[in-house]
Structure formats: C-alpha cells, structure tokens
C-alpha cells in the first residue's frame, strides 16, 4: 500500500430543542418522566392520527441552514422512509428525501491550527423514533424488550457532510464545531443525553482510487467519534495491508469495547421505498427565510474577541466555545479585558467545571464586582481564588464572601502591626535571619499572611519585615 487517504463523510443527527414534538403537540421535556407519558395518538401512530408540522422546528432548521451557508429550498416536502422496527410506531419514519430544506453548505474547522472547509451536503428535518429498553442487558441476551414512545416524534435535524473529512480528528472537529454553532443558534441543548448521534461513512482510497466504504452507526459522543473512527480506519488499513478487501457493509460501534462490528452486509441493505408523505402539504419557506435571523457565530465572535479585547487565540477560543461563557465574559470585560479573560478562563471555568456547574449558575454582575476589587488591588489574587471557591460552595455572592470573611487587602497599619507581632513572637526565626538564613524570612512572611487572613500583600510584608529586622540588628 503506497499512498492511502482516509475519506470520511458524516451524518450528524441532532435533536432540535423545541418545546413540542415535530408533528404533534406533546412536550419534549420527557427526560425525567415515566415511560409513555409524553404521547398522543399522533406520536403513538394510532390509526387515523395525522402529522402537523411544528413551525418552530422549521424555523430552527432555517437558522441552521443560514448558519451553515446552505441554499434553503423555497418549497420543501416530507417523505416516508419505510422500515419495520419496534421503536417506530408507524413502521415508517417521516423524513425529507429528494427535497431537503437545506443543501450545499459549508463548515470551517481547524485541527492543530490548520483550517479547512468541509462541505455540507444537506441538513434535513425528520422525527426521532421511540426508545427500546432491553430487559436483562444487551440486545442479544435480553428475554424481552420494552418500548418507550416518549422520544417518538422529537424533531431531528440530520446534517450530512460531503466526504471531505480526512481523519478521525477532523471528524471530531466537525462535530465539535457543529455543536458550538447549534448552541449559539439556541436550537440545541448540548447537555441533553442522546441529543447528538453520529453515523460515519468511512473508506480508504489508495493511490487516488476510491475505496469500498462502510457505514459506522451508533456513535453517541464527540469522544466516541475519534475512538470509533480510529478503530475503523485501522481495521480497514490492516485489511488492505493483508491484501484483503474491505466489504461494503453497515457496522455498529460498540462504545464499551471501542470496536465496530458488522451489523448488516450489503445484500441485507434495506430498501426504504421512499415516497412523498401526502399528509403534509409542500412547505413554503420564504417567510421563514425572511424572518429568521441568526446571531454572531463562534468564528466571528472569536475574531472580534481577539481584535476588540486584544486576547490571545487560545483565550478567545476558550471564551467563545460556549455562547453563555462568551456572553458572561462580555459583561465583565470592560473592567479590564485581559484581567477579565484571565479570571474567567483560568480560575472561574475550572472551579465551575470541578463542581459540575456552568456560568449560568453565577451572576456576571457579581463576578465583575470581584474582578474590579482585584483590579483595584483591594483583594489579592489568592484571596480572590478563595472567594470564588467559597462562593461556589456556599452559593453565596463573590463580593459578599469577600466582605463577610474579611478577604480584602489589609491596610498599612494592619500589616505593620502583624509584622511587629511576628518579629516579637518568633525570636528564634529572627535570630536565624540575622545569622544569614533567608528561609527564616519566608517563615515570618507566612506568619504575617496567616495573621492577616491572606489580606496582606506578600511583597509589602517582605519589605516591612526586612525593615523591622534591620532595627533588631
């Protein structure tokens, strides 16, 4: 094998974060509900029930289309994809076949500072099936299966890329970038389990000759994308190296074992018998296209943060990958954009993450107050960190914590007083210092810091102590 290139195309299914389902009025807030409580005749596929399109889902689809620079069809239609499966109440899925709402878009990604553009073939609307619970563990071992139709009819957008993706890492970048954009658009709840699922078409082309592709299904996370695709790419390369052929087939990704296994061979591929869904009249999109506006997107915002606030690429990137973080930062930035970036990126996000919290759990105005105190030299860095921790643990305001615990900077008198006390109470250390042991000074500084509750400025303490000790000598 001489020149082998990895060719990957992705199908990313995302749940649109609408209040109600794609074709009925049932609520989509079913995550903590008992099975089959968010259902109606339509999403249960009861005889005679009909689908009516959720306008909000169309609006969201148009938003995504605009953000990915797609051409948006003036008239779009729905189709039936026919196959039998117990989680599919009608035994067909309503989807879009030859007239998807969005086509021919583009997505900018960067991997290790290399930017490239990945083509978006289409992004179309469809409905999620119900979910299956296999009793007794895995699908092979279970003695029976229960069906929960709460998820049935949840709006999905299937975003299909061109086969422009050339490595598992690029695939991950595509998925991450899509998540970012969808979250910015407010059409996607990134924290919801199962809200994003990926299928991937993978092949290896040797000396520019197209390879046979496999479809890998059931990739449920961003990490899974890299793991699944690395496995599949290696598997195919090994196959070719050994002189074998890659079989055209559908493979299932087993996340627990990190491997892909054969699900269906080519001969078993389904014929979905697509045809127009006559229950849904053709949909005109012109009104949506005119009225739907999209906000500033992550890349734009990243650029602006670097220009407007003078931030590094890394800082700008960290601050903009979630819209809520970027919004939060902008409320703090005008104190001092560098200082604000440091405190949000280096301290706050880490502390939040450690506690499974997000910036949405804290008050930007309050945090801004803390950064102002740091900026004015009224709280030391160490005490500001202390204040953040205490505040998050006790669900108390940042500034309030500083005041209550006296974490503010000690004034000159206090510092002087504490230094004198330290010298008086530690004659041994004083003797050591005077006999040339600099370590002893550090010990004394520590004593002063402790006495002032960390409020004294270490540099000042150092200076004052030296002066005091000169006197002793």
């Amino acid at each position: 094998m001489t020149d082998a290139d990895v060719v990957i195309g992705l199908e990313v299914h995302v749940q649109l974060d609408t209040d109600s389902k794609m074709f009925c009025g049932c609520s989509t807030e079913y995550d903590d509900s008992p099975p089959n409580t968010h259902t109606c005749p339509t999403c249960l596929g009861l005889p005679g029930a009909l689908p009516v399109v959720n306008e909000r889902a169309v609006e969201y689809a148009v938003k995504v289309g605009k953000a990915l620079d797609c051409s948006i069809a003036e008239d779009t239609a729905f189709h039936r994809k026919n196959y039998f499966y117990p989680d599919l109440p009608k035994n067909f899925q309503i989807t879009q076949y030859d007239s998807p709402i969005n086509e021919d878009g583009e997505l900018e990604i960067s991997v290790e500072d290399e930017s490239k553009s990945v083509g978006i073939r289409r992004a179309h609307m469809e409905e999620d099936p119900g979910s299956l619970v296999h009793k007794g563990g895995s699908i092979e071992r279970s003695s029976y299966t229960l069906v929960d139709y709460n998820r049935s009819g949840t709006p999905l957008l299937e975003i299909v890329t061109e086969p422009d993706v050339e490595s598992p890492e690029e695939a991950r970048a595509v998925v991450d970038k899509l998540r970012e954009i969808l979250e910015y658009l407010g059409v996607f709840d990134a924290d919801r389990g199962g809200a994003l699922r990926v299928d991937a078409n993978v092949s290896i082309s040797v000396d520019d000759e197209e390879g046979t592709r496999t479809e890998v299904k059931n990739i449920g996370s961003t990490k899974g994308v890299v793991k699944a695709l690395r496995y599949e790419v290696t598997r195919q390369k090994n196959q070719l190296k050994r002189g074998g052929d890659v079989q055209q087939e559908t493979r299932h990704y087993d996340d627990d074992r990190g491997v892909t296994v054969t699900l269906r061979e080519k001969a078993e591929e389904k014929d979905y018998r697509y045809f127009r869904e006559a229950d849904i009249p053709p949909l005109e999109t012109s009104e949506y296209v005119e009225e739907v506006e999209i906000p500033e997107l992550p890349d734009e915002r990243r650029r602006r943060f670097r220009e407007e606030y003078g931030l590094s690429r890394e800082e700008a990137s960290k601050l903009t990958s979630k819209k809520a973080v970027a919004d939060f930062y902008e409320e703090v930035a005008d104190v001092d954009s560098d200082l604000a970036a440091t405190w949000v990126v280096d301290e706050l996000l880490g502390e939040l993450n450690y506690r499974d919290m997000t910036v949405e759990d804290v008050d930007a105005e309050d945090f801004r107050g803390l950064v102002e105190l740091v900026d004015a030299g009224e709280v030391t860095d160490a005490n500001a960190v202390e204040a953040i921790r205490a505040s998050l643990d006790g669900r108390q305001g940042f500034v309030e914590v500083v005041e209550e615990r006296g974490l503010g900077v000690a004034d000159e008198g206090e510092t002087l007083e504490a230094c004198r006390t330290a010298v008086e109470e530690n004659p041994d250390a004083v003797d050591d210092y005077l006999s040339g042991d600099d370590e002893a000074l550090n010990y004394l500084v520590g004593q002063v810091m402790q006495a002032t509750g960390g409020g004294a400025d270490p540099a000042t303490v150092n200076e004052v102590l030296r002066e005091e000790l000169e006197g002793e000598g």
Binding site: P41, L44, L46, P47, G48, P51, F275, I280, P281
Partner: protein
Amino acid sequence: MSATDDGDDPFNAFVTRCRVGGGDGMLSDLSIGVKDNISTEDVETTCASQVLEGYVPPYDATAVKRLKDAGASIVGKTNLDEFGMGSTTETSAYGATRNPVDPERVPGGSSGGSAAAVAAGEVDAALGTDTGGSVRCPAAFCGVVGYKPTYGLVSRYGLIAYANSLECIGPIADDVETVGRVLDVIAGEDHRDGTCNLEAGDLASAAREPVELGGLSVAVPEELVGDGVDPDVEAEFERAVDVLKSEGASVDRVSMPSLERALAAYYVIAMGEASSNLARFDGVRYGPGGGDGDWNESFSSARAGFGDEVKRRVMLGTFALSEGYHDEYYDKAQQARELVRRDFHRVFEDADVVASPTMPVTAFELGEALDDPLEMYQMDVNTVPVNLAGVPSVSVPAGDVDGLPVGLQLTAAKNRDAELLSTAAAFEEAWS
C-alpha cells in the same frame, strides 16, 4: 331511530351498535351511522379487520366530534370492505352486507354498510369514506345519495388511512338536502389535518337551493360511457341526460384521454400508499398482537390477520414502491395522475359539471365478483378519476334496471362543492 334499538340487523349493515352524541344542535333530529374505519372515542373501531379487533380509539375523528357537537345521535359503526379495499362490502371480517333493495345482491362498497343502513331506513344519514368511489358506488347500488367532497374540505383526522392522498370522508343520505346538512357540519379547516385547509361556505343552504338548470353546462366524457358500460345502465344514463336537456341544460360530449389510464394509475398509487399506511398494524400497541417469538416473527403473525384482498394490495403496493420498480410503476402513476388533473381542469374551463353513470353496472349478486379481483377493480373505472384529481363528486339516484338502482355521477371543479350540491338538488327535483 327505532330499528336500531333491537339489535336486529337484517342486512348486516353494522359492525357495532352504539349510542353516543345526541343533544341540542343543528343535527339533533338525525340518527347517523359512521363507517367503521372512522375513529370513535370509546367505541370499538375495526376497519372490518381482525387486526383491529377489540381496538377502542381514545379519541374521536374530527368529523365525528363535529357531528356530536351538532347534536347528532351516532347509533352504530357500519360495515365495510376490510380497510375500505373492495367494491362490494364482502371482504369484511364480519361478513358481507346485503343490499336492502335485493338481499341477494351486494350493496356496493366499500361503504356498503353506510349505504345499506340509509337505504333500509335504519339511519337518517351515514358517513362513508371514498378512496376510489367507496361512497358513490354503494350509494348508486342502494339507490341513495352519496357525496365525495373536494380533497381537503373535510378533515381526515381519525380516518384510518388506506390511501391517504386519495380518500375523503363523505355523507350518504336519502336526499341531497340531508347530505348537505351533514356535510356542512363536518366540513371546514382543522388544525389536526395539515391538508384540510379549505373555506367551507354554507353547504346546507346550497343543498336546499337548486340551481337553474337552464344555465348549466354539462360535459359527458366519451371515456366514461359506451365500452364497458352495461347497455341498460347507459340507457338510464341517457334518460337522465335528456331530463337535464329538457330543463334547458347544455350537454356536450367531450374527450378526456387521460381517463384511459386512470384506473391503472389509481390502483398503483392506492396500493403503494396502503402498503405504508397498513405497516403500523404490527400488534405492538393495539389489536390482538402477534404472540411469541422475536419481534420479526411477532410482527409477521400479527399481520397474518389481514384478509386476502388486503394482503394482495399490500404486497402489490410494496412491489410498486420497491427499488428498480418505483420509476416504472409509482412515478409513472403519479404522472398519469397529473394528466387526469389537467384533463379535468381543461374540461371545467367550459363545463360546470361532468356527468357519467356512477357505476358501469348495477349491483352484482353476492359472491359474483370475489373470484376475479381484476374484474372487481374494473368496476371503479368511472369513479377513480375523481379521486386522482381531488375534485368533488356526487352520485344521485337516476332510475333503475330491473328494479336495481342506477346512479348519476356529477362531478365539479375543485372547491365548487356548494355549486355541486345545488346542481345535484336541481337534478333530484327534475328527476322526480
């Protein structure tokens, strides 16, 4: 309302008796039968199929709800060909319905129970459904009025789908006025049916106000008379045409070449849609269920409950939609459908209504048509073009052959339901 109380059903017109609705409202004087493929809350709805035996819908079809709200009494669920697939009401899992005019003959179908119940005087009116003539055929065979509205005028929410791009709920009654009153109540926009978005207008009044036949322009397509039409039926039809003429209507013989292909196109589309619509009857959520085995086996055994005609149509429809045959059958049928639409559109540029015999024959004897499905399909040749085009059409009694009723089919342009009712009322008046 009396005959429905004792449970006696000499023509097997009903699958289930019930008594719901009734109260104040515009239809408080009417007892109504509802075809058993239209969902009724708390009343078993079977589609005359074993696969839905015991299924009690948790909701009312919009048409049923509107009838109840108007004070109508719903007194029973009427028999039909299984899932509406037939023209004789003999494929029902609950036995054939008999024609009250001659109990040794079929009532037509698939809304045979509805037409028979009306003809026997068991109900004042009934709802049928018309996919390819299923309201008009039994109306013609039983000597009553049957109306198929413009597609999109009456909500299909709750109508258990056979071929959803073709079918409509429509009323059957003894006279045009009653048909108009029922239609007026069930018609009009419904937010639960995205295809039901037409302004209904005052259809009850329209049915009470016959048009002046003197100004009426009638087209008679040569494709729907002559070859294939029983000569005695045709003679009765010509008598009806003469009545229209004598009242001053102008009658033109026209050609609608697309109709030659309408029947084949209709069956391909209807069966294709049926193969998908009937996929949901897998026994998981309702119906008798498929019993043991893995889900594949369980689905299969649940679906074994379908009757022969349903299986035939599901299999043919699956074939027509399959890869490699889709273009040749389904897509071609859609093209033919478009030509039928255009033909109607062209004819209605000059004509107010298109007239033909509703059925090419009178009611057959029980059992006569069952052996040869193709021959049975042929009987729908005059009614199916209307469903392909989505236009409104009505069958009105117009004479008989040896005591067996003949129907006159009048068809109007899309959304001209009010005008069509007034025209039917005028013919009804002129004929009597």
